[in-house]
């Protein structure tokens, strides 16, 4: 195909998205999003329902055309005529696996192996089924499988073509904890093999566990970074102090400490101190508490989950819309 002018999978980044926008008439699905994803990276794409996550995946997967902006997928520019070439290098698993229910698991995979023009499809199918622990169900009709098993067949299908980038839309949706763990291990194994994974999920614990970086999206891109970076960016470092009884004069205990910027009390006997460096602040706070005769139960660094980051950003959006 002559339109392919870039380096293909040898390029530096698996995905480069630059001010990409998609509108459906007056409705904006996503606006001016920009990010890069490196090869071998697991990139989480998070956001509330209607945030434009699936539309972004469909756009990068050449199913729909962007309204403006540019992108390269597996090093190939997302332009007219490159659709087939891009789809050769990627695999997409939509939220619903979309299997032919009257065909067996193997027949479904044979069909897709044929569409990718794979050599030795039988070996590929066998390997893909082993990867998702479905070898013993190879000759079952897909219509007879549970939702979780169908999801695993969908995953096996994305593995068939040995893609450079896998777009997984809610891959553990409907799976039991054991099956979810198997999918997580599969994703970790794929990352070790250098496969780039673009993971759309609502499960923030899953994103935290699997993703090198995450993007939080709500029509526009709210933030991109590793979970640790996002925590640092959004939340001040804090110490949580618990005492047996409420302090008589907490202002006197905390205000004069050089490493403490501010403090607040959430409940009696519990104090959250905004600090610059926990290594300096914690001993200072401990000494001050002991000096004030307080019975200290615990002093610990406040932990913020990815869920806290997500809610902070999305709630900001909700408040902006309300105002």
């Amino acid at each position: 195909m002559t339109a392919v002018t870039s380096l293909g999978p040898a390029a530096k980044s698996a995905l480069v998205v630059n001010k990409l926008t998609k509108r459906f008439g007056d409705r904006t699905a996503f606006s001016e999003i920009s990010f890069e994803v490196g090869y071998g990276e697991v990139f989480g794409f998070l956001g509330p329902n209607g945030a434009g996550k699936t539309t972004t995946v469909r756009t990068l997967g050449t199913l729909i055309a962007p309204t403006s902006g540019s992108a390269t997928v597996a090093g190939i520019p997302l332009i007219p005529d490159n659709g087939v070439e891009i789809r050769q290098h990627i695999a997409i698993m939509p939220e619903s696996p979309g299997l032919y229910l009257r065909l067996t698991v193997t027949e479904n995979l044979e069909f897709f192996a044929g569409l990718y023009g794979l050599h030795q499809p039988a070996t590929r199918i066998k390997d893909a089924l082993e990867s998702v622990n479905l070898s013993d169900r190879a000759s079952d009709l897909c219509g007879g499988l549970s939702k979780g098993l169908r999801q695993r067949v969908g995953l096996a299908r994305t593995l068939l073509s040995d893609p450079a980038i896998m777009f997984l839309d809610e891959p553990t949706s409907g799976l039991d904890p054991v099956a979810s763990l198997e999918v997580h291990n599969l994703i970790i194994g794929l990352r070790q093999k250098g496969v780039t994974i673009f993971l759309t999920t609502h499960r923030l614990d899953e994103a935290e566990k699997l993703c090198d970086r995450v993007a939080i999206m709500n029509q526009s891109l709210r933030t991109v970074g590793s979970p640790d970076e996002l925590r640092e960016r959004l939340f001040n470092k804090a110490l949580v102090v618990r005492t047996l009884a409420p302090l008589n004069d907490p202002e006197k205990v905390f205000a004069h400490l050089s490493a403490v910027e501010s403090w607040r009390s959430d409940e009696p006997g519990s104090y959250v101190l905004s600090i610059t460096d926990p290594k300096i602040a914690a001993p200072e706070v401990a000494r001050s508490l002991v000096g004030a005769g307080a019975d200290v139960l615990s002093i610990g660094e406040a932990q913020h989950s990815l869920e806290d980051v997500y809610l902070e950003l999305i709630n900001d959006d909700v408040e902006v819309r309300k105002s």
């Binding site: 469909r58 997967g61 309204t67 007219p80 990627i90 897709f112 299908r157």
Partner: protein, 256 residues
């Protein structure tokens, strides 16, 4: 057609045929439906008492024979109309469109999968009908049928052409419809022009001669090929996946 990979076309065709075989309703409908179109020819040739010269008998059997052309016209329309919108309803279209499969390969594979059983069944029924005529019809009428060579030849040659017409109309409806039922009802309209031509021949408005057959054959062939290309252009991935018509993005469409 641009960049056509025959392996992918055959892959689509094989999958469709496998899916048909597993769906009893499709097989039964395909087997039963054509028999309705045998009723008129059977009444005309097996029940009617032969009278008149052999030339007038040949003219008498022409219409029942042409009536058999409705078998390959009507039989594929339901299947063709189901083919794309059916995938959409099942949720299998989106995964399919994420593969390197081109639109023209998908359309051609689906068309071929409908054409194959249509032709096999049509020719088998023609063969059985002619065998029955030879064995059981009045010798004068049987002789008239087998002396009506151009019509018999037209019957066999026109079957793929009229089936092709019904298939492309069915596919055109299928790529634009939002529901299987609507698509199948609209797809049935494909048979109307063919029925009209057969009726016009029956009432003597059009005389079925070799020249007329040739003009019709070339005409339908050109229409079939052009219509297949139009169907490929009508196939709007964005509309099929999102239900929203591509507007400004149309010129920038990524996927051939």
């Amino acid at each position: 057609m641009k960049g056509l990979d025959t392996t992918r076309v055959l892959t689509v065709m094989r999958k469709e045929l496998l899916d048909y075989r597993r769906t009893r309703a499709i097989v039964v409908t395909m087997m039963i439906f054509p028999f309705f179109f045998l009723v008129e020819p059977i009444i005309s040739i097996f029940i009617a008492a032969p009278s008149g010269s052999s030339a007038s008998l040949v003219k008498f059997v022409t219409f029942p024979l042409l009536y058999l052309l409705l078998i390959p016209t009507v039989m594929p329309s339901t299947l063709a109309a189901y083919s794309v919108v059916g995938e959409k309803e099942q949720g299998t279209l989106e995964p399919l469109l994420t593969t390197p499969l081109r639109t023209n390969e998908l359309i051609l594979g689906k068309a071929a999968a409908v054409m194959a059983p249509t032709l096999v069944l049509s020719y088998v029924l023609y063969g059985l009908f002619l065998l029955a005529v030879q064995l059981f019809a009045h010798p004068a009428l049987a002789s008239a049928v087998f002396h009506d060579g151009p019509v018999l030849l037209a019957l066999f040659l026109f079957a793929p052409l009229v089936a092709g017409w019904a298939i492309v109309v069915g596919l055109a409806v299928s790529v634009r419809a939002n529901e299987v039922r609507v698509a199948q009802q609209l797809g049935a309209l494909a048979s109307f022009p063919i029925i009209a031509v057969v009726l016009l021949m029956a009432v003597g408005v059009i005389t079925p001669t070799f020249e007329v057959a040739l003009v019709f054959a070339v005409g339908i062939l050109v229409i079939d090929v052009r219509a297949l290309r139009i169907v490929s252009r009508m196939f709007d991935r964005e509309r099929l996946v999102t239900g929203t018509k591509a507007t400004r993005a149309r010129a920038r469409r990524v996927s051939p």
